[in-house]
């Protein structure tokens, strides 16, 4: 727990309990992302799970740290993001939702 102002999203995410699924509940057709000019997923994700790797010129994402809002699934202009709920009992576990 932290009281400081301006915590980073990563620091905030440390307060969230997640049971990590071995299987990814998000898959991205990364070849589509190369054409994408908007990259809205980088903006919409409140867990900042999507990042653009300039060097490798590809989208990197981290399904383990997902808050399961599903916003990314709605906004991908290329329809490249396949998002579903994590399977049986896995994923986020809010204690104070």
């Amino acid at each position: 727990m932290s009281g400081k102002n301006n915590m980073t999203v990563d620091e905030k995410m440390a307060t969230v309990k997640i049971k990590i699924d071995k299987e990814a509940h998000i898959t991205v057709k990364k070849e589509f992302c190369k054409k994408c000019t908007t990259r809205t997923c980088l903006i919409i994700c409140t867990a900042e799970n999507y990042k653009w790797d300039e060097e490798r010129v590809e989208l990197i994402f981290n399904y383990e740290g997902c808050l399961e809002c599903g916003a990314c699934r709605l906004i991908c202009p290329e329809g490249a993001i396949d998002w579903s709920y994590p399977k049986q009992g896995c994923g986020v576990k809010f204690r104070f939702g």
Partner: protein, 457 residues
């Protein structure tokens, strides 16, 4: 092949209300929830309106673990160097509390347990992945490789509803029809909260935050409210809007938190939990899309949501109760076709729910970001409209005028003459009285439209 009468997908307020009602009617019900405990997947800014719940579970107040009785609502227009506030303090609600802050993890678990104690079979840790459809008729659900069959499947699985999607009732979600929300729960000692918000133990306050302009992004809203020993602060904005304006919602929330006015209230609060969730911004599903062959949608899966006030829980509970009435009728008729399940609309219509949802859904348009990122300056209008929802009762609808008229017209012929006059007069008076109620209601409605016009203008 395992078969039951009714499968309910999702143990949120809608699903549990439906399961509890069905179980009490003695109808075999299975309630499936993807969380290991009901509520652990869910987020609300959670101010719980208790009226609807009380009808279903009169003893709820003794059993629920609630945080604070919300008696004050402040609606605030924020700008960098100005704060305009309208406060309303509802003393009535100290004597007769209707609104509470609460945590979903406790609330949903309690509610689902109520349903299971009444006889519904609650199975947690079950993510429904698909529906089983035969000849256009929903006959069951799939959980991975497992199959479960039922006469009727109720989709109470919230915004990203698998049931709505796979049944074809609402196959595609539109980013303009939903709000993204991000929320932080901040630890603060109860005394500090009492001090800063001028409260005593057990009483709580809620703030609605409007119109804050961050880099030309104004269409976000916020809420801040007190729990027993924590404060919840959340920001909301349309997903389409965030996309169009390239705005990070969590950055927007951070701006709220840094505003001097807000900062003074939450200062030294340590982060307990960070959360995000999505919610429907109103009734964009047409009523005829709430039912199909072997399937019904309740709660947010059917966009049964009061956007105007941001209240989903009471409306979802009422829709779950009405779905149960419909299913009881279908069980009696042994017919689960769309033709019978259509009666769901009649049941919904017997409450004020659909009217309310559809009127209130129009508000959703303002969050669509169709160039309308101005909130009305007249905060009074916002506050007025907002506060009237404290007294909304989604369950009741006046049938007096109709019944009284019928009675008067037909019944009088069968009545002894001496009785006719006094009885008739009594009925006329009640009917006049309820007509006045209707008039008041329609006045409130027109006030809302005026307010809407201001938005539009």
């Amino acid at each position: 092949m395992e078969k039951t009468t009714c499968i309910i997908v999702g143990a949120g307020p809608a699903g549990s209300a439906c399961a509890l009602s069905l179980a009490r009617k003695g109808i075999e019900t299975v309630l499936l929830e993807r969380g290991r405990t009901p509520g652990e997947k869910n987020v609300s800014s959670f101010v719980l309106f208790i009226k609807e719940l009380k009808r279903l579970v009169p003893e709820c107040m003794d059993e629920l673990e609630l945080e604070r009785n919300i008696v004050r609502s402040d609606q605030i227009i924020l700008s960098d160097d100005d704060v305009k506030t309208i406060t309303s303090f509802n003393y009535k609600h100290i004597r007769n509390p209707v609104t509470f802050s609460a945590f979903r993890r406790k609330f949903d678990a309690w509610f689902a347990k109520k349903a299971s104690m009444a006889g519904a079979e609650l199975i947690t840790g079950m993510t429904v992945t698909d529906l089983i459809i035969d000849n256009g008729r929903v006959i069951g659900v799939k959980v991975g490789d497992e199959e479960l069959y039922a006469d009727v499947v109720v989709g109470a699985d919230g915004y990203h509803s698998k049931v709505a999607e796979r049944s074809g009732l609402n196959p595609v979600l539109d980013p303009g029809q939903c709000l993204l929300s991000v929320k932080e729960v901040l630890n603060l000692p109860a005394e500090v909260i009492n001090d800063r918000f001028q409260l005593t133990d057990g009483l709580g306050a809620e703030l609605g935050l409007w119109n804050y302009d961050v880099n030309n992004f104004k269409s976000g809203t916020g809420t801040l409210y007190t729990n027993t020993d924590s404060i919840s602060i959340a920001a909301f904005a349309s997903v389409a809007d965030l996309k169009n304006k390239n705005m990070k919602l969590h950055a927007y929330l951070e701006k709220f938190k840094q505003h001097p006015y807000i900062n003074a209230l939450i200062k030294d609060g340590t982060l307990r939990e960070y959360q995000a969730h999505i919610l429907s911004n109103g009734g964009r599903i047409a009523p005829e899309k709430l039912y199909g062959d072997g399937v019904l949608l309740c709660g947010e899966a059917g966009a049964i949501m009061d956007t105007m006030s941001g209240m989903g829980v009471p409306t979802c509970i009422v829709s779950g109760m009405m779905a149960a009435e419909t299913i009881e009728m279908a069980v009696k008729k042994r017919d689960f076709s769309a033709g019978t399940l259509k009666n769901y609309l009649k049941y919904l219509d017997s409450t004020s729910l659909l009217d309310m949802v559809y009127e209130s859904s129009k508000v959703g348009e303002y969050w669509d970001g169709a160039g309308k990122d101005e909130m009305p300056d007249d905060i009074k209008a916002v506050a007025d409209c907002y506060n009237k929802w404290w007294d909304v009762d989604y369950m009741s609808k006046d049938y007096y005028p109709l019944m009284a008229n019928l009675f008067f017209k037909i019944g009088k012929h069968f009545m002894p003459k001496i009785l006719r006059w006094p009885l008739g007069a009594a009925i006329k008076i009640t009917s006049l009285y309820s007509k006045t109620c209707e008039k008041i209601k329609s006045k409130i409605r027109s006030r809302y439209y005026e307010w809407k016009k201001q938005y539009d203008g």
